[in-house]
């Protein structure tokens, strides 16, 4: 008798992968906790988190928008200004350290840095420079908008039952003096790049782990009943400043994020990891869920990810009871082009 005897079919490559094939895979995820339509769910993170939020909303789950668009701002107009994309108007939060920074600022743990980026008389938020594509009219307007988002973020943390966070990048740009992490590299969308002040960092495994766990501790301190679902974005880097090839840099980033997410989920009972990254990127799927640029995820990929999500929730916890939807709670369909990925702005700099 040895440990490999009497394991379930899921434990063997032959029976779990080779024989069922890409479309026959099942049981990829054994969720730790039930996520029901009645649970208040918030989403944040990199581009791929937008898909999860919308898919949950489309299925009648209570995806909560804590910073809804102001009146008469609808559809593409609202999304163009970063409303309805995530549960609050932070734009993409690509790194765990950026999530921790947003939380610390929202709760006044970290002092506010007065830096504002200006370009041609318009003002941009260094933490989310693409949130107002034309810039803010004044620095005051930018700070007022930031305070609204802080409030929404606090509401999200304190009232959510499930916080879904998609880890996207390890590469980041910071201010050497203030230690502020920027949403994008200064000078790309706005701001002026200053080699003396702006420093590139590619977060290590340890730094990533510390940042993520710091963010989680803070959220749990504010909401002890909060559960967290981690995912890793399968979307490759648009560009790397690491000096390495972008493909190699992508693999480094995703490996670190995947390892930290897995490690965190393994030792914290309130944290789970959902393998959307594996579903999109694993060789068993032969890249079929990527668009021809091998970067964008096609709708079929998102659908497959969510099919596994719902199937595994049902397998472990039973079929959920549908929530009665109000007409305005049904999200409008969104195409790939509607996914807001600020990092793609770096493509403008590709030769």
């Amino acid at each position: 008798m040895h440990p490999y005897e009497n394991l379930g079919s899921h434990a063997y490559w032959k029976t779990a992968v080779a024989e069922p094939g890409a479309h026959g895979l099942s049981g990829l995820w054994t969720p730790k906790f039930s996520i029901k339509p009645r649970h208040r769910i918030v989403t944040a993170g990199s581009c791929f988190a937008q898909h999860i939020g919308r898919a949950l909303s489309d299925r009648g789950y209570d995806w909560t928008d804590c910073e809804p668009a102001p009146p008469f701002l609808r559809g593409a107009d609202a999304r163009g200004l970063g409303y309805g994309v995530f549960s609050f108007r932070t734009g993409n939060i690509y790194t765990p350290s950026m999530l921790r920074q947003w939380l610390e600022l929202a709760y006044g743990i970290r002092p506010e840095d007065p830096e504002v980026w200006e370009k041609e008389g318009r003002f941009y938020d260094p933490l989310r420079p693409a949130i107002e594509p034309g810039g803010f009219a004044s620095a005051d307007e930018m700070w007022a908008a930031r305070r609204v988002t802080y409030a929404a973020l606090r509401t999200a943390v304190e009232t959510a039952q499930v916080f879904v966070f998609t880890l996207g990048l390890t590469e980041r740009w910071k201010n050497r003096t203030t230690d502020v992490e920027y949403g994008l590299c200064p000078g790309t969308v706005a701001g002026t790049f200053d080699a003396d002040q702006h420093v590139f960092q590619n977060a290590s495994l340890r730094q990533t782990d510390r940042a993520l766990n710091g963010a989680l501790r803070l959220m749990r301190a504010k909401n002890p009943r909060l559960k967290v679902l981690l995912t890793v974005s399968p979307v490759p880097l648009t560009a790397t400043a690491s000096g390495a090839h972008v493909l190699v840099s992508t693999q480094y980033s995703k490996s670190v994020l995947r390892a930290v997410a897995g490690e965190t989920a393994s030792h914290l009972a309130y944290v789970d990891y959902f393998p959307s990254f594996e579903i999109i990127t694993h060789p068993i799927f032969r890249g079929m869920f990527f668009a021809p640029n091998m970067r964008s995820v096609v709708p079929e990929g998102v659908a497959t990810v969510m099919k596994h999500f719902f199937a595994d929730q049902t397998r472990v916890f039973g079929a959920p009871k549908a929530r009665k939807l109000q007409p305005e709670q049904v999200a409008a369909p969104v195409g790939e082009a509607d996914v807001k990925c600020e990092e793609e702005l770096l493509n403008a700099f590709a030769a």
């Binding site: 102001p70 008469f72 701002l73 107002e132 034309g134 803010f136 007022a144 908008a145 305070r147 609204v148």
Partner: protein, 255 residues
């Protein structure tokens, strides 16, 4: 000096709100500028929806045509861009309160407005949703000079606006608004109108009370009996027209 033989032709177009403007003129509560010839045209009630832009003009069909002919009294069955020197859209279902209510509530809740860019898009959406406003822009695009006097804020003291389903039940904190907050919203609306070639005239501040309402003294006759918070008195129209006439004159001189 304007020539007495060539008066400026001004058309007041709108819904039932134009009645107060007409009363203000016929009762002598407002001084129509010299050498201005005024006509009225439009339709009241649901018939207002039967006025549309077709064949290069605003045309009324069905019940609206009959009402428009009655209001006009000069046999005019449509409004084309060259028919008048100035068009004054009056009321015309562009209900200011529907924009002000939610935004003043938003302002009170957040202590600020959304960005000016967001507000501009929102104001444009709100105004573009209104068919009469779209017609005003179309008229302007065809070279007409267009002034827009939107429907006024609801009247205070006529009925309980805090009751379930009523305006202040939905937007209770809108009544906290001050003149500065209202000015931001007027600015957004006038900027949108300007970009469409239309001059929008804000409701005079001295007619506003309780943050987002029109003073009770401007209620239309019998308003309390029928709970009419929308229509206003001739005196109210006269006050607003004080701000309109200089624009009519300016536009005439600029022509």
């Amino acid at each position: 000096m304007p020539s007495p033989h060539n008066p400026s032709r001004v058309c007041f177009f709108g819904d039932s709100q134009i009645a107060s403007a007409r009363l203000a003129m016929t009762e002598g509560l407002t001084s129509v500028p010299d050498d201005v010839d005024i006509e009225f045209w439009g339709a009241t009630g649901p018939a207002f929806r039967q006025i549309e832009w077709r064949g290069g003009a605003m045309r009324a069909t069905g019940a609206a045509l009959e009402i428009a002919l009655t209001i006009n009294g000069r046999g005019r069955d449509h409004l084309a861009p060259g028919d008048f020197d100035t068009f004054v859209f009056y009321g015309a279902r562009l209900r200011t309160a529907e924009f002000f209510g939610p935004y003043l509530q938003w302002h009170a809740a957040h202590g600020t407005f959304p960005s000016a860019a967001a507000l501009h898009i929102a104001a444009r959406t709100f105004m573009d949703d209104n068919r009469a406003y779209r017609n005003a822009v179309t008229l302007a695009a065809h070279g007409a000079r267009v002034i827009f006097v939107p429907a006024p804020l609801y009247t205070n003291g006529v009925t309980d606006l805090h009751a379930r389903g009523r305006f202040l039940h939905a937007y209770p904190r809108a009544s906290e608004a001050d003149a500065d907050a209202r000015a931001v919203l007027w600015q957004a609306m006038t900027a949108v109108a300007r970009s469409g070639g239309v001059t929008l005239v804000p409701q005079p501040e001295d007619t506003v009370t309780n943050g987002v309402l029109t003073k009770a003294e401007f209620a239309c006759e019998g308003a309390v009996e029928v709970g009419d918070t929308g229509h206003k008195s001739a005196a109210f129209a006269a006050r607003w027209l004080q701000d309109v006439w200089p624009l009519v004159t300016d536009l005439r001189q600029a022509a």
